[in-house]
Amino acid sequence: MSRVWIIFAGLAVLGLVYPFAMPGMLSVAVTVLLFAGWATAWDIAGGWCGQVSLGHAAFVGLGAYVVALGQVELGVPPWFGLPVAAALAAGLAWCWGRLTFSLAGPYFTLSTIAVAEILRMVAINEDWLTGGAIGVFISTLPEPFGIDLFSREAQYWMALAFALGTIALVAILSERRFGYRMRAVREDENSAMAAGIDPTATKLHAFMLSGALTAVGGGIYGIFLSYLEPHVMFYLFLSVQIALTSIIGGRGTVFGPAAGAVLLVGAGEIFRTTFAQANLLIYGILILIVVLFFPRGLVAELIRGVARRRYAQSTQGE
């Protein structure tokens, strides 16, 4: 318990110091933080509750569009837009979950692709709602207390708050009743029911929370890009990347998804500048290597290794 919070505090300090240490590298950092937040949020449903989604870009898109359209069309500032986005995302997650939670394992995963793709098509084709394929520019933003929200610094702090907030929430939930309910549902729904847990409700709540948080990150992402296009925001590969980040880092661990974000975004960044055209190839190879040597993800494999070794030692004398 306390170890988690020590690590968390370390991360927070790192986050606070970073912009002063490396002021020129803020947008990479924003990307890392967004992915850390997304992957952690994804993990609430995907890791803790076992509902692997490949459709989370839908929440990113929803969040980004709500914030952007709120600002551009209605003049609603982002600090109102973000909570609205979160609420709408939770609503979407509720409907979505109601529809698909009866599906098990791979079927659920495939259904998330389907739902997200359908939403992407809606976003592209219903231009009265979203501005359609041509996209939406955010060209003005309010300046609360004189803070320029277009500045990378402001966006960095938003992304940092998002990432740390999400991680903290997971750290808290993981040791509370809800965290245990999610674990139980992930492991075995029948046993969970025998323990008095309503699996559908648990999954719904996890998915709603996951979606709402993802949408908050999406809203920040929209501001970060300042230009929204459905093909970008609802991109299937974005969903995949979010899931990938979490799985590579270690599902069902507090810091795994964030570690995954540092690794994947960091590596992506380095590969992009050093390997030119081969960068995605190298990225693919990296994924394969991590998967082969850390099948449960970096952090999960680490924890498991430590636990096993400790237990093996303790029983050796038996």
């Binding site: 698909t100 599906l103 791979p106 079927y107 389907a114 799985i247 055209q277 190839l281 082969l292």
Partner: protein
């Protein structure tokens, strides 16, 4: 409604559906036996397309003749991938395997990108746009050929699974891997075989499609993979005949939706039917349910 156009659309839907089925059966087989969602499936189809393009430009033979080389090559490739990647992940959670195949998909696509460059490739055959007239309906020769290949592939696969001892072993492995080992089945070999067959089928689809479409290194693979998923789930996992039904349903729904509803939602129609079927019959249209764990 114009009946000729309607018939034309229905027949096109059938033919496209045949192609979808061809893309889907390999995935169905792999999914059914190995419980692996193979995200690289469509990339193998694209590999098949490039194979045919290369074959055609190197020797100048008809692209269909590429099957002679492409199918064995794909089989060996699939076996190697299973040996060196997937077989190491049998103990890992299923999402890990999914990740591995995603990695493979990136690797295949980007290798093609490095070798061929990003531009689409195709072969220009004289019969690409040729049709046969059946009454007032025109039937694309290339689609018809693809449909026949589907039929041949599925029949062969079915015969293999139901009539041969190895086929039974495949089914047993699908059902319980350790159980199969215990009755003397080399399940590693079976997994390699199945994955090899899966990639071969994907490659056949690619060769069948190239005269009609185009190959590009990175964009097309995932699109095929998604279609294959839809087909697979519509039919029911692991049921090869059902893949035909899944493909046909998808083809018809897409074509009629595009023609008579709104063209821009084409892919959505398939996905909506896919969701509906998933929800009403989680085991697919032709799957059976077993209640007890």
């Amino acid at each position: 409604m114009d009946t000729t156009a309607f018939l034309q659309n229905v027949s096109n839907g059938f033919l496209i559906g045949g192609v979808y089925a061809l893309i889907g059966i390999g995935l169905t087989l792999v999914f059914g036996v190995m419980r692996t969602i193979n995200f690289a499936h469509g990339d193998f189809t694209v590999l098949g397309m490039y194979g045919a393009v290369a074959f055609n430009s190197a020797i100048g033979w008809d692209p269909y003749a590429a099957l002679i080389v492409a199918v064995p090559a794909a089989f060996i490739g699939g076996v190697l991938i299973e040996r060196f990647v997937l077989s190491r992940l049998v103990e890992a959670p299923p999402e890990t395997t999914l990740l591995a195949t995603l990695g493979l998909s990136l690797i295949i696509g980007n290798c093609l990108l490095l070798i061929w460059g990003p531009e689409p490739e195709s072969v220009n055959v004289p019969y690409a746009a040729t049709t046969l007239a059946v009454g007032s309906v025109r039937v694309s020769v290339v689609l018809l050929a693809a449909g026949l290949m589907t039929l041949a592939a599925i029949t062969a696969l079915w015969l293999f699974l139901s009539r041969t001892e190895t086929g039974r072993a495949v089914k047993a492995t699908a059902s319980n891997r350790l159980g199969a080992e215990l009755v003397g089945i080399d399940t590693r070999r079976i997994h390699s075989l199945v994955f090899g067959l899966g990639t071969s089928l994907a490659v056949i689809a690619g060769v069948a499609l190239i005269p009609l479409l185009f190959a590009n290194p990175t964009n097309l693979g995932p699109i095929f993979t998604l279609k294959a998923f839809v087909v697979t789930v519509l039919g029911g996992l692991g049921n090869v005949w059902a893949a035909i039904a899944g493909g046909l349903i998808l083809g018809i729904v897409e074509v009629l939706g595009t023609a008579y509803l709104a063209s821009e939602y084409r892919d959505a129609y398939g996905l909506i039917v896919f969701l509906a079927i998933l929800l009403l019959r989680p085991e697919g249209l032709f799957g059976r349910t077993t209640k007890r764990a």
